[in-house]
Symmetry: C2
Subunit: 248 residues, 2 copies
DNA sequence: CGCCAACTTGATGGCTGTCAAGTCAGGTGG
DNA sequence: CCACCTGACTTGACAGCCATCAAGTTGGCG
């Protein structure tokens, strides 16, 4: 939907009134075909935007659950900790994706959400989401799809962790990032990693040295170009081939 | 010849009218505190029960999504397949648990659900669930909790696959089974595995030989007693200790 | 009774973890 | 401007856990 010139929205430094109606990520967060009035209702449900600076927590495991969050800009990771100190990155989230659904089941968040770069999120108070879902059919169904997509995504990670070897995991990781950047209008072939090797390793069930070695090997084989956190994909087809090859 | 004049409920061998109001698993599937009338509404939403014999599919990846399923009795596994033939068991489900939520996001199931023993499930047509959810507040919230719980469970599996070694994984698996049997009124210490070593291995990201060896080692250490698929836990505390120990 | 799938156990090898040393990049302060 | 410092990254050597391959055992079922 194209917007003609519209009135200026009042801004503050810390929190901003969210306005889904003006948001260019709308199609990621919301269903198609809402009426003007329904969009207004959604606007008033999504209370405010909030900035989260790099390395700050959006929420922590153990905190009470009150809202889910739509990422308006920036990049996050979620992770869980075991008592003995081991931790597992469970996902990386970017603009247009939803955070916090882990908290619904027990009214308590079960993982940590940390900004990997300065970010901005929209707060969606959960009781109000449920209220509005009962009124707006499409919103209800959309939210169910979002949760289901998270479950399917998790199955993909389980597949990756359970059956793939190191280079396959990294290849899948790169392809996934590339595809998500593409669908947000960024380059499919060139991007900046917001996370460290250690965080990639944690997500992929590998040690950071293994991640680093795999990156180097990909570079030696002419598949990618790595310069620290800067990645350029040279041969997408070659990377895809790594995934379909039988290990045994 | 005339039948007696009270109405007879039609039964067939394959499907039975579900009746949540009579179901002793009600507290697993449904929220507390529904009124008589609400329960009746749920009864009429849950269309029928269906029997699924051992090794039969409840649904397959690629099939259209129409309903979710509550397990009334029996035992299932869900798994996903890669094109190259590798597969990953993503979960084992038992009575009172919900299957099929993977299908909501794309209107198509993304995994297979297979009965590991003769089972019985209740069919919950999804559009009707959404309809009733808009009427019954508690049902809506309960369903959201169920989906969220699935997400949290998946995070646990990712933790297991990403950070634990073989014996820790198997220990976690046994404790999880034991706990779930307990909460259904069965023995915490003695149970029958419905799945093969290969399926356990797929779920835990291990080869069947490794699973078998870990079972044997547990037995040698006096933690459990294994007789093929029959498991007796002798030292729960000892098994728990395996989980909290640092690997390095 | 015999067959077959499931399981167990042993021997060997390879992938990836571990330990260690060195390099690189970015930020800070003199 | 440059020295310095620190966290992130790379690379090498080695070891250990688990996969692989192989052979044998068990138990269920026709």
């Amino acid at each position: 939907m194209h917007k003609p010139n519209h009135p200026v929205i009042p801004l503050t430094l810390t929190t901003i009134k969210a306005a889904c109606s003006q948001c260019n990520l709308r199609e990621l967060c919301l269903p198609y075909g809402l009426s003007e009035q329904e969009i207004e209702q959604v606007d008033s449900m999504v209370g405010v935007r909030r900035r989260v600076k790099r390395s700050q927590h959006l929420y922590r495991a153990g905190e009470g659950f009150e809202a889910i969050y739509a990422i308006r800009s920036g990049f996050f990771k979620t992770d869980v900790l075991l008592e003995d100190g081991r931790n597992q990155v469970t996902g990386f989230q970017m603009a247009g994706e939803i955070l916090g659904m882990d908290g619904i089941s027990t009214e308590t968040h079960t993982c940590n959400a940390v900004a990997l770069e300065d970010s901005e999120i929209c707060i969606i108070p959960f009781p109000q989401l449920e209220n509005l879902s009962r009124e707006i059919h499409a919103l209800q169904h959309h939210f169910h799809k979002v949760m289901s997509r998270e479950i399917v995504r998790d199955h993909g990670v389980m597949m990756l962790l359970g059956t793939m070897r190191a280079e396959e995991r990294l290849a899948a990781f790169l392809l996934n990032l590339s595809q998500r950047f593409t669908s947000r209008g960024y380059s499919a072939a060139e991007f900046h990693l917001r996370m460290t090797r250690d965080e990639i390793g944690s997500y992929l069930g590998l040690k950071l040295e293994t991640v680093s070695r795999a990156f180097s090997r990909f570079q030696d084989e002419g598949l990618i170009n790595v310069q620290q956190k800067h990645i350029r994909i040279l041969d997408i087809a070659g990377i895809k081939k790594l995934l379909s090859r039988q290990p045994s």
